[in-house]
């Protein structure tokens, strides 16, 4: 879950342009088949069309990949998952060979038959992954997607500014003590806005039950009164300045504070979510074999290590995580989280037809 929606307004503009293209095309969710059957495949060295978030892969990946396999890469940048989906929907099948998206979106795309089924015999580096990486609910066994990075959502707070409160769960954000009140930020992106309330009430993060959503919305509205504000982009800078003393954030992002020694990250006791950024091959690709080679190349230890050291996210690549400098794990303790603990959290799933009801609950909270 990389650079979150930095350019929302430009993606709105892009989205309306793509609406133009999409209406001319096959209008949403054309059911392409799998395994590239029927789609003529290119042979020899090809140029792979890769779609990814900015700065999410090593800078020299293209050169090293070409050296190793002879195939070259052309990168299309996306600013968010919604942008990636708009690009996939808005271009003819076969435009992209590799797409990076986050798990709930990937699940939606799998259900709409937009991803090729993977041939694991072409991806021997899958053995570099933790065993837990093939037990991910949204795509068990990694039939269509391969995980690239993963993490959860929690609370980071300033240990030097929060002296008398024991911050250990969502309840500390929803019913804050005087020390925290007015100095808390929470995430306002759809799936994460209701997460603290849902978990605090013991509901699933993927619920679409109206009563549960309503209860979570009411609790979130009550919590709004003691918030400094919602922030899903710069919450760590607010922690730096002391404007906020406790923020809700994705675990990798909490590592971006300027002084990690005064910040502590907490996995809430009520439980949290599990998100995974994955790679997949969109249907209609004419370079399926080369795309498999790319996925296999990404799973090499050094690429996973680059993500861990530069993006400060955890990776499901065991070989890479075991090669990470122990000093880094000491500075950023959440990076040392055991995959088993990570998998105890609830994987975010696609909500399907229940998405509008979920968004309505979120709108109700934001408009209150």
């Amino acid at each position: 879950m990389a650079t979150r929606t930095k350019g929302r307004w430009t993606t709105l503009l892009a989205a309306s342009v793509f609406a133009l293209a999409a209406c001319g095309g096959d209008g949403g969710g054309g059911g392409g088949g799998g395994n590239g059957d029927g789609v003529p495949q290119e042979s020899g060295p090809v140029t792979l069309q890769v779609m990814n978030f900015a700065n999410y892969m090593p800078e020299d990946i293209a050169e090293r990949f070409e050296e190793a396999t002879g195939h070259s890469i052309e990168l299309t940048l996306t600013s968010s998952n919604e942008d990636a989906i708009a690009k996939l929907e808005g271009s003819p099948e076969g435009t992209y060979d590799i797409a990076f998206v986050t798990s709930p979106f990937a699940e939606g795309l799998i259900n709409a038959d937009r991803f090729e089924q993977l041939d694991h015999s072409l991806i021997p580096n899958l053995s570099n992954l933790y065993p837990e990486a093939s037990q991910l609910d949204y795509d068990t066994g990694n039939a269509y997607t391969v995980p690239y990075s993963w993490g959860t959502t929690g609370i980071c707070y300033r240990t030097d500014l929060v002296k008398s409160t024991d911050v250990d769960g969502w309840d500390d954000m929803l019913n804050p003590s005087n020390e925290l009140s007015g100095k808390i930020t929470m995430l306002d992106e759809d799936r994460w806005l209701l997460l603290p309330a849902l978990k605090s009430l013991g509901y699933s993060a993927n619920t679409t039950d109206e009563a549960e959503l309503s209860a979570a919305a009411d609790l979130s509205i009550k919590a709004k009164a003691t918030l400094l504000g919602y922030d899903a982009e710069t919450f760590y800078t607010k922690l730096d300045s002391g404007e906020a003393v406790a923020v809700m954030g994705w675990d990798g992002w909490c590592n971006y504070v300027s002084d990690p020694s005064v910040v502590e990250w907490v996995l809430p006791s009520e439980g949290s979510d599990l998100w995974v950024d994955v790679m997949a091959i969109p249907t209609g690709s004419t370079r399926v074999a080369a795309a498999h080679e790319f996925i296999n190349f990404i799973l090499e230890e050094e690429n996973g290590l680059w993500v861990a050291e530069n993006i400060l996210y955890k990776v499901p690549n065991r070989a890479a995580m075991e090669a990470v400098d122990p000093a880094l794990l000491e500075t950023y303790p959440n990076m040392a989280m055991d995959p088993a603990t990570l998998l105890e959290q609830e994987a975010l799933r696609d909500l399907g037809a229940g998405q509008p009801a979920f968004t309505d609950a979120v709108t109700r909270v934001k408009a209150a």
Partner: protein, 303 residues
């Protein structure tokens, strides 16, 4: 043109002739018209069409005709957001008018030619910087540890930090700051065209300044006032970076609502319906504006 107009502006000679009557006119306007048709009418048509369809289970558009989106759009939840947006936009427009008029008046009537140019450049100068960056800089000024609070505290005027950010005050301030040039410039244009002799005549006849303002100046610049108000109200109503950044995401306006429908709920049909609601309001305003303009022309105001 009415006889009254000629007395006001005796130097105007050529009668106004509609452009469409000449072939050259039609030719020169054709490219602009084509641009407008393709980049404005066509997308609006798409939005209109999309609002009658349904969201696909996965987030695309299902081409099944339905009125559901319109029924949903008049739900109190969304009307409340619309009402809040209208309130903020009206407040912004009113403040811009009250603050912008004296500035425009001074620039148009009380300054020398050189000073006038310098002042106009200063008015436009903020537009040379990205809107988003200017909005962000307010966060630096207004936050609890920010410049304003620190200064007030160091002077001793306040004991603790004032809540200047993440509320309606900050949103309105951000919008006023962002759009006040759009009020000042049309007002300036209207005031500048005003014949000073008219005002002098009213003075000579014994009117005090307040009365001159009310009965002479304002009626003559009504088209400029309406233009300025529309230029501020329209972008304020649909704005979304300002409530998100300066409002801390605690309040949402129509822009945020439409944005979240498209990008988070991936409910393009419903987002299109909400966008259409906004467009209808704005079209209504533009109709009002064009009526005012036409009336102004009829009574001889030079617009």
């Amino acid at each position: 043109m009415s006889p009254g107009a000629e007395t006001l502006h005796p130097e105007v000679s050529a009668p106004w002739r509609p452009l469409g009557r000449s072939r050259l006119g039609r030719l020169t306007i054709a490219p602009a018209f084509a641009w407008w048709a393709f980049f404005l009418l066509a997308p609006i048509g798409l939005v209109l069409a999309s609002s009658f369809f349904r969201r696909g289970a996965f987030g695309g558009v299902e081409y099944v005709f339905t009125w559901d989106n319109y029924v949903r759009a008049i739900d109190p939840l969304y009307l409340r957001v619309l009402w809040y947006s209208v309130r903020i936009a009206l407040l912004t427009t009113a403040i811009c008018l009250v603050v912008g008029y004296p500035a425009a008046y001074f620039i148009a009537t009380r300054s020398s030619a050189r000073l006038r140019n310098a002042l106009l450049v200063l008015v436009i100068l903020p537009f040379w910087t990205n809107f988003l960056i200017r909005t962000y800089s307010w966060i630096v000024l207004l936050n609890r540890e920010g410049v304003i609070n620190k200064s007030l505290q160091s002077i001793g005027l306040t004991d603790g930090p004032l809540p200047l950010l993440y509320n309606d005050f900050a949103i309105t301030l951000g919008l006023v700051y962002g759009y006040i040039p759009l009020m000042v410039l049309p007002l300036y244009a209207a005031l500048e065209r005003l014949n000073p002799e008219v005002r002098e005549a009213a003075e000579d006849l014994g009117s005090r300044p307040a009365r001159i303002l009310r009965t002479v100046t304002i009626p003559l610049i009504v088209p400029g006032i309406v233009a300025g108000c529309v230029f501020v109200f329209v972008p304020s109503l649909g704005n979304f970076p300002v409530p998100q950044l300066l409002g801390g995401g605690r309040k949402i306006m129509m822009g945020n609502l439409i944005n979240s429908q498209f990008l988070e709920a991936r409910d393009w049909p419903f987002g299109s319906t909400l966008a259409l609601m906004l467009m209808l309001i704005l079209m209504g305003l533009l109709i009002v504006q064009s009526r005012v303009l036409r009336r102004g022309r009829e009574i001889g105001i030079d617009v």
